[in-house]
């Protein structure tokens, strides 16, 4: 692998990312999958970086899952997107920041459509006006939340309590980065580093002391593809996609996986459990899995946030192996306690995937 070749491509795909005053748009599913991630993003932006972020309770889904499942027509999606843009305008913001990669893809695609087909934008405006009486403005800047963390990766590194370095060996942690398909595959110029060798997560890992590893199935789907998991009969295809990736990355002995898409982080976590139960196969060390984290969770760990406040106890693949490598201080007894200290009980241990130490 010629690193200079990759860096040359990274230089070709830069994008403008706003510096402050963000209008934050949540994901439909992330709060269920990894509930600490969005909270961590807001905490990092507001408390660590002292940025202005508006978390609007009135915004809705972008309809992305329904759109890609062909149950929501494109005109409806455009109208809903227009409404979210209208809310941003009413709130006095211009920099639109969706938390979900699918949403980012939806917004990018619609803005591109409107740019090339003004009559389609006019129709969306008309539909929105009829339905809500609202008007919208095109965002001054559109960036995914991973773009924002990427932009401030060095500021985060400067405030780091822990680095992505093995505390025992002193070597960089080996990290698999996985980028959601809708981040840049449709519009490579809208993603940091482009579509083939994205830099958005690799840049974070580098800045925080880790080492990004490559493997032959790096580009392969995580298994979350909508038609694979929405249609129950296709889920065998979904898990086989994930398995293909795990088999390919296993020889590289990754310390963890970092992903910027809700579905990728989730499926690369949960399917490890399913594969362990189905086939008795695990892909980490000594019967462990490979922890699969979101970039906000990784940023939170680097900044010294409590792992259980980050919601890491909700991962199917336990993260303790990573915490120990990084030297993160944590209380094992608090893992399954609620916010008020109440004991929530402990999950049953899987048959094959090592869950408790």
């Amino acid at each position: 692998m010629k690193q200079e070749g990759k860096r040359s491509i990274w230089n070709d795909y830069q994008k403008e990312i706003a510096d402050d005053k963000f209008y934050y748009v949540r994901s439909c599913i992330r709060q269920n999958f990894f509930p600490g991630s969005e909270t961590a993003f807001l905490k990092i932006l507001r408390e660590v970086l002292e940025k202005d972020v508006f978390d609007d309770r009135h915004h809705t889904t972008c309809t992305g899952i329904g759109y890609h499942a062909e149950v929501v027509p494109l005109e409806t999606t455009m109208t809903v997107v227009g409404r979210n843009f209208a809310l941003m305008k009413e709130a006095g913001y211009q920099n639109y920041v969706p938390s979900c990669v699918t949403s980012f893809g939806i917004y990018t695609e619609i803005l591109d459509s409107w740019h090339h087909f003004p009559e389609v934008e006019a129709r969306a405006r008309e539909n929105l006006d009829k339905a809500t009486g609202r008007t919208f403005e095109i965002p001054g800047n559109l960036a995914h939340t991973s773009d924002i963390i990427f932009k401030f990766r060095n500021e985060i590194a400067a405030k780091a309590k822990y680095m992505l370095v093995n505390k025992t060996t002193g070597k960089p942690l080996r990290v698999v980065d996985h980028i959601g398909c809708h981040y840049a595959k449709m519009f490579p110029q809208k993603g940091i580093g482009g579509a083939e060798y994205p830099y958005v997560l690799a840049g974070m890992v580098e800045a925080w002391g880790g080492e990004v590893i490559d493997y032959p199935e790096r580009r392969h789907c995580c298994g979350f593809g909508f038609r694979q998991y929405l249609v129950k009969a296709n889920r065998g295809y979904s898990i086989s996609c994930s398995k293909k990736k795990f088999e390919s990355m296993e020889p590289e002995k990754p310390d963890f996986i970092i992903a910027n898409c809700p579905g990728c982080a989730y499926f690369l976590d949960r399917w490890q459990y399913a594969l362990a139960e189905m086939e008795g196969k695990t892909y980490g060390e000594d019967g462990h899995g490979i922890p699969s984290l979101t970039y906000e969770e990784v940023a939170g760990l680097v900044l010294g946030f409590d792992p259980w406040e980050l919601g890491l106890q909700l991962h199917q693949v336990p993260v303790e192996s990573l915490l120990k490598k990084m030297g993160v201080a944590y209380d094992p007894e608090s893992k399954f306690r609620g916010a008020n200290g109440e004991d929530l009980g402990q999950p049953e241990s899987p048959l094959n995937l090592k869950f408790y130490e």
């Binding site: 010629k2 070749g5 493997y215």
Partner: protein, 338 residues
């Protein structure tokens, strides 16, 4: 005769045209931006369909020049201005005037890095057809980055040709037969090496091409009709490639030691620079525009300005040389020699 023709580009078309113009009695100013004449052919080892040494062709054409040709190598033509039928050549060398101008600016090889998914410049064992020619010239066989001999080689056709994604919708004509030629050469140099050619169509249009294709099959080259979707590097620096075998409608994955990208022809940057200075346009693919495709392929829409060879579109050596000689006759006609 005391008339001068400026020939811009010292590849095979430029050399052939200059020689023909000399024979007709014209003085020729031959501009070549590189240090040597011969153009892209100079960088090739052997030529299809009969494996003739490429340097022989260049030397043969160069030896046909007479004392009437003044060669300015290392000289870049910036613009050509036309005044009352006289052309002023502004270059990195001294200013000069000519009675007619022939563009033989040729082509540039497609930059394979633009097909990012194939990993050229990133994966150690992904090379281009031009890189392979250099290997043949220096060591007579393909070699991997670590100097070892490959056991499996894949040729990928149409890299930068017939590809809307990189704005190259046209066929580069010669890559198919070049891939077949190189595949045969690999089998001859390394008889144990497995060779796979991934193609869209095999356009064997020239004399002897179809026979070469048959020879490749007899010599054990595997032909798979399918375009690559992606390439990735393995831990051992091999290249895992994914494609679809469209004849059996099945996805295909294979790991090879060396991938050869058959890079197509792109317009030379200097062509449009000179055309613009003359108020002329390129064609839809960015090559030099011609008067008409059937009977005016060496003419432009400006009197006194002619084109020949791959500057007006992908062409093989045979067609480039023939067109150059045809252009020389057109110039002779224009200058009143006929």
């Amino acid at each position: 005769m005391d008339k001068t023709v400026a020939v811009v580009g010292g590849g095979v078309a430029g050399l052939a045209a200059a020689a023909a113009l000399n024979q007709l009695g014209y003085r020729v100013l031959l501009y070549e931006k590189e240090a040597f004449t011969g153009g892209n052919v100079r960088n090739w080892d052997r030529l299809f369909p009969k494996a003739r040494n490429a340097r022989e062709v260049v030397d043969e054409l160069a030896s046909s020049l007479t004392g009437l040709t003044e060669i300015a190598t290392g000289t870049f033509v910036n613009s050509v201005k036309s005044t009352d039928g006289l052309f002023e050549i502004e270059s990195s060398g001294r200013p000069a005037y000519a009675d007619a101008v022939l563009l033989t600016t040729g082509f540039e090889l497609f930059d394979a890095r633009k097909k990012e998914e194939y990993g050229y410049g990133i994966f150690e064992n992904v090379i281009t057809s031009a890189d392979l020619e250099k290997m043949f010239a220096s060591s007579g066989k393909p070699l991997m980055a670590d100097g070892s001999e490959p056991k499996k080689v894949a040729f990928i056709h149409c890299v930068g040709s017939r590809d809307e994604k990189v704005n190259k919708p046209y066929c580069s004509k010669v890559c198919c037969v070049t891939a077949v030629k190189q595949a045969v050469e690999v089998r001859e140099a390394l008889p144990e090496c497995e060779v796979y050619n991934f193609y869209m169509d095999l356009r064997m249009f020239g004399t002897g091409y179809e026979q070469l294709y048959k020879e490749a099959q007899v010599k054990g080259v595997n032909f798979i009709r399918g375009r690559l979707s992606e390439a990735n590097e393995t831990r051992t620096h091999q290249v895992m490639i994914k494609a679809e075998d469209t004849l059996v409608s099945r996805p295909l994955q294979i790991t090879v030691d060396l991938v050869v990208l058959m890079v197509g022809m792109s317009p030379a940057g200097s062509t449009m620079t000179i055309l613009k200075s003359l108020g002329l346009l390129g064609n839809e693919d960015g090559f030099a525009g011609i008067a008409n495709a059937h009977t005016g392929s060496t003419l432009t829409l400006k009197k006194g300005v002619f084109v020949a060879g791959a500057c007006s579109g992908p062409a093989n050596i045979t067609d480039s040389v023939n067109e150059a000689r045809a252009a020389a006759l057109r110039i002779h006609q224009y200058l009143g020699g006929v």
